[in-house]
Symmetry: C2
Subunit: 459 residues, 2 copies
Amino acid sequence: MARVTGLDVFDIRFPTSRELDGSDAMNPDPDYSAAYVVLHTDDTGDTTAPAGPAASKGYGLAFTIGRGNDVQVAAIRALTAHVVGRPVPTTAADLGALSRDLMGDSQLRWLGPEKGVMHMAIGAVINAAWDLAARRAGKPLWQFLASMSPEEIVSLVDFRYLTDALTPEEALAILNAAKPGRAERERRLLAEGYPAYTTSAGWLGYSDEKLSTLAKQAIADGFAMIKLKVGSDLHDDVRRMKLAREVAGPAMRIAVDANQRWDVGTAVKWMEALAPYQPYWIEEPTSPDDVLGHRAVAKAVAPIKVATGEHVQNRVVFKQLLQLSAIEVLQLDACRVGGVNENVAILLLAAKFGVPVCPHAGGVGLCELVRHLSMFDYVAVSQTMEDRVIEWVDHLHAHFVDPAVVKRGRYITPTAPGFSAQMFDATLERFRFPDGPEWANENAGAVQARAHENKGRTS
Amino acid sequence: MARVTGLDVFDIRFPTSRELDGSDAMNPDPDYSAAYVVLHTDDTGDTTAPAGPAASKGYGLAFTIGRGNDVQVAAIRALTAHVVGRPVPTTAADLGALSRDLMGDSQLRWLGPEKGVMHMAIGAVINAAWDLAARRAGKPLWQFLASMSPEEIVSLVDFRYLTDALTPEEALAILNAAKPGRAERERRLLAEGYPAYTTSAGWLGYSDEKLSTLAKQAIADGFAMIKLKVGSDLHDDVRRMKLAREVAGPAMRIAVDANQRWDVGTAVKWMEALAPYQPYWIEEPTSPDDVLGHRAVAKAVAPIKVATGEHVQNRVVFKQLLQLSAIEVLQLDACRVGGVNENVAILLLAAKFGVPVCPHAGGVGLCELVRHLSMFDYVAVSQTMEDRVIEWVDHLHAHFVDPAVVKRGRYITPTAPGFSAQMFDATLERFRFPDGPEWANENAGAVQARAHENKGRTS
């Protein structure tokens, strides 16, 4: 029987801080990075897997923004003993067992539990195993998941700490209710894709002119919504929001994103100042850990919606945000939590509470991965794309073998087998930190000096 | 001016799983470990520091339970550029600035924010800097902190995300109210020490006979409370609790600790079964992330108190537990959060809400460190020891230069300068993983095999 023979991890960093792409109120100078996982197997292609040799590896990643990507790599390496040596067919056939195994290591659990570096590491490895399993099945991840029976899908989920809000029986009922229309929704998805919105216009480091040009472009490109970063300077934000509203007209949705910059009181005051320009949602108004804070902001700023999720550490925090009606938009992230399994739990929670899921994306590989989750949600869980949009940022996609593609404001539905996390070998060579050519020229001293300069910039 | 010249990190592991010390419902086989930090300076002792050459280094640690301690080490190393090169006197004189600097690295912040591996790393480094500063001042940490002005203490705290529950002005008022009696409370503390309770009797791996013997011993030793681990098997727990109550008599406080084992509904049912034996508190009934869950349990099990904290990731979660009246006992941990600074914030929050702090301890160095925080709290914040006890587990203290000492059920007040995290060089040599003699004999294959055996044991 084929087995997992190795787990390789790469420290890949893109020097995005040189252009201020991705700058916001809390993250002024990110170097978008990935701790990139390759699962190797001794599956030589002469197996029953439809995809043959292409299904001999699985790819996953954790997204970070630069310094600390080495810590993320170390955390993934700490999981090696849990995956290497496993039989491939049984692992691929029961990814709930793999998830329970990785989450259940009592010693590693102490480092979270279920949060931060160690949890993202588990997510990267689980996602790589899902990639492998979907490749073996010859299906894109969204379709592989959506072809499972409701019972199989429920068995993927760890219901610990969830049963006061969602029981396995309720989850099964949600999935069973969605079963009849699966084939029709799959056809529609393949024909029409999935709605996107863009953050490309609104980075905090951009000039008014660039904002205006990019916003016009976004509207011409057919996006249903644009998003601006806010939270650094109220006067600037009012001016930028007013400008965006003028460019976009009264009907276009414009979201704003504070990236956790505010306390509750500040969030409320800031949104009062922006309210005349009708922001659709305020994203990450305060700490992602503060479910009560989100509820307080949501009550105060209605009808502006509150959104969060890219830094919500696990299903337990999402559960509470939903129990409190503290969010009206749930922004799951493909790589922050414990992989596909925990994201299935989060999708089921959102469906139970009737809250639309509009995933976070834009980081390295996040657009590539998360589209699969939204598409699975549409086919097999929520049954709707209404008020649902996936974030889109048009950079770094060229590094991916099966890149996310957006046309006329919609994500094209992927059809290649797997979970789309695979990067080109040339990218791994060039952007490997610190020895790839992109970084070797910037010597270690310069990198350290930059770290020193950045001290305190965001506090 | 003297500068920080280096940051060394050691992977130190004690093979406690061989004896089932520390076993509980979620952690059946911990190897108590520390990612141990040494800050080096070029302070040669010819400075104005009262302690002279003894004040040339600072020691700190993050506590883990085995696998993953290497990840914790990597996270601490990622902070090197933030500390090496800093001037010692100005750093020691403004530890609020050091804290803001470490927490404010926008790229590293992405790995949390303020939670898990990266946050514990920041805590270890901040605590090492506090050790250095207290040594330079020639005072034990508790006294060093308690000799600061209320304004200085407030300046240590990051109030971001706290102001809806505690403002700087309110914190100042709490500290000012406690100022008059400081000297008298310091005298009392030095004369009488601080109350302790013991978990030594109640580890889940122990036989009934061992439990009974150790419980009798604990009472004879003068402890105000004992604690049993529960949560694995209800029938066993009822038997053990009944036995403990028989041994202890009706007046003795007996706490129980489920180590996050339950969902809300299970917690309530389990405590109904234990209630006839009058447990004083139920500790960690469910996920440390579930503030709403804790509130639900607290309402249902009253008058049994709900306690949590050893895995509460930061001040934002403590804030919510207090806002909801979800806990009646706050169990801060010296090494889980962002060091002394964040623990000062947590002590101030607890004082504001009138909830007693009974710290978690027992891991490597936790008793040594956390006694300083409770003693500072008594002198300068809460002004009382009533209903306050520090956990005590009598193992691994011999590895520390300034070990925690408990006599007649009370922690003796430490008087040596610093924060007591320093371990003996011989310990570092012997228990260094994987190359120290304690581990080199157990070859890498055996360690891997153990990791495999443990898969799924706790899920």
